[in-house]
Amino acid sequence: MKAYAIATLRIGSVLALALTHSGCANVLGFGTATKFGLDISQRADQTVDVSLGYDRAEIASIPAPKNNNATLDENGKSVSDTYSVLGSFKVTYDNPFTDEPLVLHQLFATGAAARAAARDSRMQAYFGTEAHEIAVNQPAAANSTPPQTIQSTGGTK
């Protein structure tokens, strides 16, 4: 009985250590997931996700400043909203057992680079073209049969 308790304690310690390291980093991250079967998963700062059967997800995690670190204006309101990101991503999914199960194309400018890129005419042209393609292609993609394409562009400041 004592050995069983010690073993349980050891397993508990390992799990606690593992969970301490699990996905709590304050970093910018973009994730995708394709699942078939039973899945229970969690990403940083998000609720637990349980799925049975087929499921798919695209996740963006953008760090926000804590209130005590935020820059305040004369009225005491926070003027620093969140982390600067300028990005474009395109994800194409198909049957996991075919030749093209997943195709990702991602471009991201972060922090000061995002602010600089937003002022740059070449990047404006790039994102303008991307936005145009999304606006033109999105209805067709929504009505198409698989493979399905998800495309997005945008930014935060």
């Binding site: 390291h21 994730g31 078939f36 899945d39 093209e100 997943l102 000061a112 070449r122 990047m123």
Partner: protein, 210 residues
């Protein structure tokens, strides 16, 4: 001097036969910030510039495998992990002038030159995979069951799961093109430490829109 009987030899043979599948179907990995250490049999392959357009490592394990370090977990079945680090085009990188942009056409990515680099290699006992500091993309695929907790995945899965995680660093422009069917032909680039418009790469517009 003890005599080894036929029964002893048979027992030894049986033990060896029993151990072979155990060795073949078990393994573990230790993941640190600088390298991944794999103990036990694994299949692996990799590509790097100039033949590749990113630094890509792919490792596949079959059977029961555990991992610890920056990511903890245990997997039953087939597990595959791909790590991608970009070509660094930053202004401070001494090699950046030697690198020229190559357009991303399917004929280049799936060309004959790239095909032979997709060959798998077998490591029977130990494999060390360097982890570049600027590695920013990880794809993990599991066929079977997996319990994991860590930066890469925090999940309990029974069935099939493919997860990707892209973590572009601060003050940078990062680009990746990844196809799960051809992971070694991924292309990834990064321009780091861009803190003003002046520091944006001169040919960035052409490279993004060839």
């Amino acid at each position: 001097m003890q005599h080894v009987t036929r029964a002893d030899r048979r027992l030894l043979g049986t033990a060896l036969v029993a151990l072979c599948p155990m060795w073949a179907l078990t393994g573990c990995a230790w993941r640190s910030m600088t390298a991944d250490h794999y103990f036990g049999p694994v299949l692996f392959r990799s590509s790097a510039p100039p033949s590749g357009r990113a630094y890509v490592n792919q490792v596949m394990r079959i059977g029961v495998s555990g991992e610890a370090g920056t990511n903890w977990g245990v997997t039953f079945g087939v597990s595959e992990r791909t790590m991608v680090a970009p070509e660094d085009f930053s202004a401070g990188n001494p090699h950046q002038n030697a690198k020229t942009f190559r357009p991303e056409t399917p004929s280049v990515r799936h060309g004959a030159a790239a095909e032979h680099t997709e060959q798998w290699h077998f490591s029977p006992f130990y494999l060390r995979v360097e982890r570049p500091q600027n590695a920013f993309f990880i794809a993990r695929t599991t066929y079977g069951a997996e319990l994991g907790a860590g930066d890469e995945a925090c999940a309990l899965t029974a069935g099939f799961a493919r997860r990707t995680l892209f973590t572009p660093p601060d003050n940078s422009i990062s680009q990746i093109h990844f196809e799960a069917a051809h992971p070694l032909q991924a292309s990834a680039r990064i321009w780091r430490d861009i803190k003003s418009t002046d520091l944006l790469p001169t040919h960035l517009g052409e490279e993004l829109m060839p």
